[in-house]
């Protein structure tokens, strides 16, 4: 800038204003307007989170859809769970979320409250989407205040995954209706005989604590609040910490360092609580055999389990609600899609897809058998509400549980912190 000339301030402002305006225009045009074109072809953005196998499978199903609906093009967007929700939040706040996206129970109320989710009931009424043939009442998982804001693609439940070889070697058995005492006794036997921990860290898992509370006539969430007291949680974490110190639960320092591998497949412990559709990962990661076992109970009967769901939701501001509904309809009802997806997102939610997919490998068979067993035992309850902010609370529960088991925070202080953070999360 060698020229030292005076420029009137107004000129600068004008130029700046003009360029700002043009850029602004460019930005607006960049965002919208690209979803439709002259020949009636419509483009929908479809986003999901998950590992590579899921992405490969979903892309196959998209190709199938585009073949059947040549006038609808699908633009896929995918990433891992945490990044997905960070990105989604930013996109949704800017009015530019994907037209269709994978969703979970914990996010329904949050984004319904913010007006992001399309009520798909209207599309069903218009005949673009069928709400029939959903198994075991899972369709209700996508309903909030009479609106259908999510369509389940699968059903899953919390389960106990065990290292089958370790359990056999220690001579312990997991059976339906066993109590927590029996469970921890079994872990003790494993620890004594095999010199490994029994569990990988149950007390930081919000969804397991939810089951425990449900066994005791409470639940983690009510419609708008937490469904337990600070004392309840203090007790839960005190017990957990005691078991970490005695070695019954794996050393959290070691668990942290084998990530992203699970501590169960890394051989640090003999069992882990997780969602049953995740159990497929263990065979790939670890060297032992893994199986699904019943959740321990308080009264010898109730496990507190329920069927949760991953679902598909749509953006309320989508320009093509009809096409979006057709897409979701295809993805949840088409038998071919069911064959391709398998139980990656849980047991297939509709009878068309469930009947079309016959699992051939041990893992998928195991998952199917497990849910059959649970269903037969008649212990499945109804899902409890997830108020807006549930996602933030789940993260806080995991973090604070970690502080407790690491011995860095006293259980009572951690429980207090959870309650104060929950208050802020519900308000947000």
């Amino acid at each position: 800038m060698g020229t030292s000339r005076n420029v009137e301030r107004r000129t600068i402002l004008k130029v700046a204003g003009a360029s700002a305006a043009t850029l602004g225009l460019a930005a607006t045009t960049g965002c919208g307007g690209d979803s439709g074109s002259g020949d009636g072809t419509v483009t929908l953005r479809y986003a999901w989170w998950g590992g590579e196998p899921r992405t490969i499978a979903i892309k196959k199903t998209i190709a199938l859809f585009e073949k059947k609906y040549p006038k609808i093009k699908i633009k896929p967007e995918f990433t891992d769970y945490e990044a997905f929700w960070e990105k989604f939040q930013t996109q949704a706040s800017g009015g530019n979320p994907p037209d269709v996206f994978q969703n979970a129970v914990g996010f329904l109320r949050k984004y319904d409250k913010r007006g992001v989710l399309l009520d798909l009931k209207t599309q069903a009424d218009a005949g673009n989407l069928s709400l029939d043939n959903f198994r075991n009442g899972v369709l209700a998982n996508g309903q909030v205040d009479g609106k259908q804001i999510g369509i389940p693609v699968g059903a899953n439940t919390m389960a106990l995954v065990i290292d089958v070889k370790a359990f056999k070697k220690a001579g312990v058995e997991a059976k339906f209706g066993w109590t927590w005492d029996e469970y921890f006794d079994a872990l003790q036997t494993i620890q004594d005989k095999l010199k490994i921990a029994g569990d990988t860290g149950y007390c930081s898992i919000m969804y397991l604590y939810d089951l425990y509370l449900r066994q005791n006539g409470k639940a983690f969430f009510t419609d708008s609040d937490l469904g337990f007291t600070e004392d309840d949680l203090t007790q839960w974490w005190e017990d957990g910490y005691k078991r970490v110190r005695s070695g019954l639960i794996a050393d959290p320092k070691k668990v942290e360092q084998v990530k992203p591998k699970s501590a169960l497949s890394a051989g640090l412990a003999a069992s882990e609580f997780t969602w049953d559709n995740f159990s497929i990962r263990y065979e790939g990661e670890g060297e032992s055999d893994y199986g699904l076992a019943p959740i321990p109970t308080t009264d010898g009967k109730q496990t507190g389990q329920y069927l949760g769901s991953l679902m598909l939701s749509a953006f309320s501001g989508t320009k093509h609600p009809k096409e979006v509904a057709q897409f979701i309809d295809f993805m949840v009802h088409d038998p071919e899609v069911g064959k391709i997806m398998g139980y990656d997102r849980g047991i297939l939610a509709t009878t068309e897809q469930y009947d079309a997919f016959k699992p051939t490998d041990a893992n998928n068979k195991g998952v199917a058998a497990y849910e059959d067993e649970v269903a037969k035992a008649g212990v499945l309850g109804k899902i409890t509400p997830h108020p807006s902010g549930a996602d933030v609370i789940e993260a806080a529960f995991l973090r604070l549980g970690g502080e407790v088991t690491q011995g860095k925070t006293k259980p009572a202080d951690a429980a207090k912190a959870l309650f104060s953070e929950a208050k802020a999360a519900f308000a947000g």
């Binding site: 800038m1 060698g2 020229t3 030292s4 000339r5 005076n6 420029v7 009137e8 000129t11 600068i12 130029v15 700046a16 003009a18 360029s19 700002a20 850029l23 945490e82 960070e86 939040q89 930013t90 949704a92 706040s93 913010r114 007006g115 992001v116 050393d251 959290p252 320092k253 070691k254 668990v255 942290e256 360092q257 084998v258 990530k259 992203p260 933030v392 993260a395 973090r399 970690g402 502080e403 690491q406 860095k408 925070t409 912190a417 802020a424 999360a425 947000g428």
Partner: protein, 318 residues
């Protein structure tokens, strides 16, 4: 930027005396100049100045990205100062700054002293030591670090030789921050290059005179080198501490995006990020950002004030 600086220096008289045609031509030229600058100006206004002003406003609001910001006055700041996690993040950050910065500079100075001497393959050494500074901030190095300092990985095994078995640093809340410190120290190349330049400026005759007077190497370093390079040292201290206050990438990657375990790597910016982008408390996050700006400005001011006591400028001494 020169434009702004030089404009007032021009005598006003000359300007009014200029013929109208010339003025118009000049104005057109200026307009062209600004048009060429406009991408930068637009970028500055839209991407830097605008967001900064917006975040200053958000700092006094409750804003969840979806509903319009609600004015709450100083609420964000009062909640923040009482928030145990915020306090923890300040503690972690201060610890990081206070430990990492001096160690990094010491190493940089030490290696610079060695490399300042003439020897064969000098250029190669300098390049080799500088290399980590180029790649150190990358995400992939963060992953490498995580692997190096995990349980039963190379650092852990080497420690075991000396009977220091801590079972890996990454999972241990008492040690994990030091793996970040190590990562920072490893990137000592940038301050080292600046030190080298400073060392080159020290007049040889000072050393010769001191040697004649019988001063040993330590004395020469203490009484000649250090005072002579103190402006460079000051510059490095300033730059590196400001840098350290803003550490984010390494903590985020090494801790597997959670800034844990048990919040042990919850550096200030990490908490800010969690509040803003995970919990969508943009008002709180903005308040945090501005508090950091003010804190860093204060530290800078203190450093500038302190330089009177220890920084030696040759011109001033004359």
């Amino acid at each position: 930027m020169t434009l702004v600086k030089e404009a007032p220096a021009r005598p006003a008289k000359k300007r009014s005396a200029a013929p109208a045609a010339g003025r118009r031509g000049r104005r057109r030229e200026n307009l062209a100049g600004y048009l060429f600058m406009s991408p930068w100006i637009a970028g500055f206004l839209l991407l830097t100045a605008g967001p900064m002003i917006a975040s200053l406003y958000y700092a006094f609001t409750s804003y969840n990205l979806f509903t319009p910001p609600k004015w709450v006055g100083l609420d964000n700041f009062t909640t923040m100062f009482q928030d145990p996690r915020w306090q923890k993040s300040v503690e972690v950050t201060l610890k990081y700054v206070v430990v990492a910065t001096p160690l990094k500079l010491l190493l940089a100075l030490g290696v610079a002293l060695l490399l300042a001497q003439k020897r064969r393959g000098q250029g190669l050494y300098r390049a080799a030591f500088y290399m980590p500074s180029l790649i150190g901030a990358s995400v992939s190095v963060g992953f490498v670090w995580r692997a190096l300092f995990s349980d039963d990985a190379i650092v852990d095994r080497s420690q075991k030789i000396f009977g220091l078995d801590v079972g890996g640093w990454i999972g241990n809340p008492d040690y994990v921050l030091y793996s970040l410190v190590a990562l920072s120290i490893w990137q000592f190349g940038a301050p080292m290059v600046i030190f080298l330049a400073g060392l080159k400026q020290v007049p040889r005759e000072l050393y010769e005179a001191a040697e004649v007077d019988g001063a040993g190497p330590l004395r020469r370093f203490w009484n000649i080198t250090l005072p002579m390079i103190s402006p460079v040292l000051f510059f490095n201290v300033l730059l590196e501490s400001i840098h350290a206050f803003q550490v984010f990438g390494s903590a985020y990657v090494v801790s597997d995006t959670r800034c844990g375990p048990a919040d042990a790597t919850l550096v200030y910016t990490c908490y800010l990020y969690q509040k803003g982008f995970k919990e969508a408390q943009m008002g709180f996050a903005s308040a945090m950002a501005w508090t950091l700006v003010i804190a860093v400005a204060l530290v800078t001011a203190v450093l500038f004030w302190s330089q009177k006591k220890w920084v030696h400028y040759e011109e001033a001494a004359k």
